[in-house]
Symmetry: C2
């Protein structure tokens, strides 16, 4: 084990121990503060300037053999980044990574985990800088870009390291096997056990959460010994490239080949993901993105273990509430946050056509839909706050989709454009809320990515549950919200959650949103329905990334 | 949790705790004695008669809806079993199993594990009976049929239960999540976590080890909440059917639907495995058998997690030895045991053409090959012992293969038929040992299932290692044996083992054979090379069999 890696592990041992404890108890914990105030004021203030200094430049990383340059990122806030990146020659890169693998494997779990923890610590220090890059590629608002792109993403990376550490720790390095032979001397074998990586790991990042969805696969693979290729979305390269640079620096300092973490950027016109995914050396693939491509990977990259997070029909079922106002406010926040561009944003809100019971009497279906619409309007009435919460639309396709969907139901709340006070070019649109009947299944049972949601009139809560079961069974869901004041109905929601393998958020009416998922405690997606075949992060996310190779020999006589 | 299941867990708690400890330390341990003397003498003596009483009968199991009867097993010892079995109607069976699943899921890990442990305990009690059924379907000799078919298979089942228990225990049932909010009150969420099975599990059994290779998948899936369909090989139904009967009895006693473990037998003419494997409800598949079918499953049953144990080119590399005699004797036993019909039998034995060093001076290549041949002859010189060790050839295709392969090299030791003292109809053949040059790669780098092995002349040990790396890289291997008196060479073998992900047995020259694999200590196959994509049994074998579904809600104010 390299002395440097050993020191890295020593430095972060307490963090590791606490992370392992947290994934076991699922209690609240994080070493990476989500409050900007906990970071040096200078660093926070300097971040926009530091970001600007990166623009119109080449962003250099260690690359074994360069085949070209790419880079055409456009900030959703309305300007071109003009940053270029080297594109590695695929064959040479794979060969270099394979050559680097045995030393990384043989360094052992402690060295690898030490390196991973040091990478995460340095990423945490530069969270204000990462936030700038995330904001100006994903279009997230500044606070979300900081939290989700920085500390929350690092949490998810650390969580993966903790799972990997725990899994590897369950394999002893050696054993003495003494088999009794009755009156004769026992047979004694000395055994050794090695954690052996599967091969090259490909992590395909998305444009909306370029770090949060990327760090789990990166760190789960790296900690278990696999070299990692990061393939960013062409529209969100910079935050991934910054991550790779940190990883390469730490690897090199610890005496390892920096190309163990490599960036392979591409362009929308000349995508390289399929060629990478089908490379026989690639044995692990993590993907976040569209159902079409996720399913293509699952069906075609059969030489690899494929971990996908795709999309589904995120669902809310309203049976009854104490007070409609806090519920509507909570849902308004959920629908508005990052303009519905989260994989966790609710799309289908089932409400009985006969209305719902509240502590203040019954509300009609229209009153429920109206309350949600009104809460959204109120929440977004201040334009500055609205722009901060909504962020910008990442892709023109999403903006176009709002128009395409307007005719799918009765408009309860129309989407409207907003002008950002500092970035007038940014595409900002408030949520579109449509009312439909349960029978209009084609409208609400297709994923409509972006700020587009449906309030669906059903015959009853039982009917809502049946529809949710059907739609989620077919299309999947990453989140399931539900509201009821009746304990028996709550148990039925709990049963539904298990049946469709979607995590349930019950009666959220305060500071927690259905779209939020806390590392170390909440399992993000379950891997058990069509929206994702993996969870961030459980044991099944890490254990297939390595195999155990043993050796045995007779014990030498003593 | 059912009271019965609770009592079952109480009864076997000590066994479970010890099993969990054993998979962590990898030290020798078993609760199921491998010595016949540890079983009631009456039971052992009565077993052949009890087996005969099963012949020419219908073997009844619980089946939701019967579509027909099958059964045409032939003992490799030369007689027809004439046992018939009900074939369930697939759609009705799947529907019944899906209906039974929620109660099994909701019973919880403790109840399920209690039931699994009771099934295993009862299977252990009936080991002498299982041995008869295994012997007269697989063709194994009586002692091997007892050990591998009985206690060793039960060990592997228990090992899977221990892994499943450990994995499920790492998920807490509940958590209180308290997130500080600075000066404000913390946000407090109550969370619940549920272990949720993936769906119906299909375990496709093989004809040579109908219980040993079946119990890991059966118990890993059942313990984690999945109903299990056992699809036996048409030639080896009875041992699987006996297992299903015990499982159904225990499930019913514990208050669960017996069809949670169901048998789906078929015939060679009308196989049902593909239809079952592609059923959308089938989410887990365990398969032991041919590369062709294993790869078909991996490529086509993409709605399921597929765990395969196929075949490879099991390898021995001889660099140098202290004494050739004990090495040759050890290899002779390995080559003879069950006529090479083990997935672990060596096929390719690499020896430098320049010969090898021993404590008594150098031996030529021909002397090494001759010593192995001579050891086989000596080992099998007593016909009674030979028949016990060799067992019978399970399939006519295997017997035919011996003739087909004779021309592939220079015959060092020819295969000869033997006559069993009690079963003159049994097909018994001693090992065929061929000498070839390293250049004759087509001969030794294809799997030749049965008692067919090659001594391969190489340029040097370095050349042997390179060839092994190449052949195992392409075709895989379940075992790797190696001999050297040089510590530096031993380390190179250790490196080779890691590079090709094959478990290494070094310098075996005593009572342990390269083809033996001890539960709780030896990882059987690694899952990291083309011979198998799973290991019996590691964490990756159990964790993908369930997902975690959580719920969360605000804590009620206190």
């Amino acid at each position: 084990m390299s002395q440097q890696a050993e020191q890295m592990l020593d430095r972060h041992r307490e963090t590791l121990d606490q992370a392992v404890k947290a994934i076991a108890t699922r209690a609240f914990w994080t070493p990476y503060p989500e409050s900007l105030k906990k970071y040096p004021e200078e660093a926070v203030k300097a971040a926009p300037k530091r970001f600007e200094a990166l623009l119109k430049q080449h962003y250099a990383l260690k690359v074994p053999s360069i085949s070209g340059q790419v880079g055409s990122e456009v900030s959703p806030y309305g300007f071109e980044l003009e940053v270029t990146y080297d594109q590695p020659e695929q064959g040479a890169l794979i060969a270099a990574m394979q050559s680097a693998m045995p030393a990384w494997r043989d360094a052992g779990a402690e060295a690898r985990v030490g390196v991973c923890l040091e990478i995460l610590a340095r990423l945490n220090d530069m969270s204000p800088d990462i936030a700038q890059a995330v904001m100006h590629t994903s279009g997230q608002g500044p606070l979300m870009a900081f939290q989700a792109g920085g500390p929350h993403a690092q949490d998810r990376g650390l969580e993966a390291v903790a799972h990997a550490w725990q899994a590897m720790s369950q394999v002893p390095t050696a054993a003495r096997w003494v088999k009794p032979q009755g009156k004769h001397d026992p047979v004694v074998m000395e055994k050794r056990f090695h954690v052996v990586p599967r091969g090259i790991s490909l992590v395909v990042a998305c444009s909306t959460f370029p770090t949060w969805n990327t760090y789990p696969g990166l760190f789960a693979s790296l900690a278990t010994g696999n070299p990692v290729i990061l393939k960013p979305h062409p529209g969100a390269i910079l935050p991934v490239a910054m991550t790779v640079r940190v990883a390469q620096e730490v690897l090199e300092e610890a005496g390892f080949d920096p190309c163990l973490v490599s960036l392979v950027p591409d362009t929308a016109d000349a995508p390289v993901t399929k060629a990478l995914a089908l490379d026989p050396a690639v044995k692990l693939i993590d993907f976040t993105g569209s159902n079409a491509f996720g399913e293509w990977l699952e069906q075609n990259a059969i030489q690899a273990r494929v971990f996908t997070e795709k999309a589904g029909i995120n669902t809310v079922i309203i049976d009854s509430v104490e007070q409609i106002k806090p519920v509507a406010q909570n849902l308004a926040f959920s629908l508005s946050l990052y303009s519905g561009q989260m994989c966790t944003t609710p799309q289908a809100i089932y409400v009985p056509k006969s209305g719902i019971q509240t502590a203040d009497g019954r509300l009609t279906f229209d009153e429920v839909a109206g309350a949600i619409a009104k809460a959204v309007e109120a929440f977004l009435s201040d334009n500055d706050r609205a722009c901060t919460v909504l962020g910008a639309i990442q892709s023109p396709a999403t903006a176009a989709r709002i128009d395409e969907c307007r005719g799918l139901g009765e408009v309860q709340l129309d989407s409207e454009p907003r002008e950002h006070p500092r970035f007038p070019e940014a595409q900002i649109h408030t949520p579109l809320l449509l009312k439909v009947d349960a029978a209009q299944k084609a409208a609400y049972s297709e994923e409509r990515f972006g700020p587009i949601s449906f309030v669906i009139g059903t015959d009853s809560t039982a009917h809502s549950i049946e529809l949710a079961r059907e739609v989620i069974g077919e299309k999947g869901a990453i989140t399931l919200g539900a509201y009821t004041t009746d304990d028996a109905v709550a148990e039925r929601f709990e049963g539904l959650a298990m049946d469709v393998a979607a995590p349930l958020s019950l009666n959220l009416d305060g500071g927690i949103l259905v779209n939020q998922s806390a590392a170390f405690s909440d399992f993000h997606a379950t891997g058990g329905n069509p929206a994702a075949n993996a969870s961030l992060c459980d044991q099944a996310f890490v254990t297939p990334r390595f195999v155990v190779v043993q050796s045995r020999r007779h014990a030498r006589s003593e």
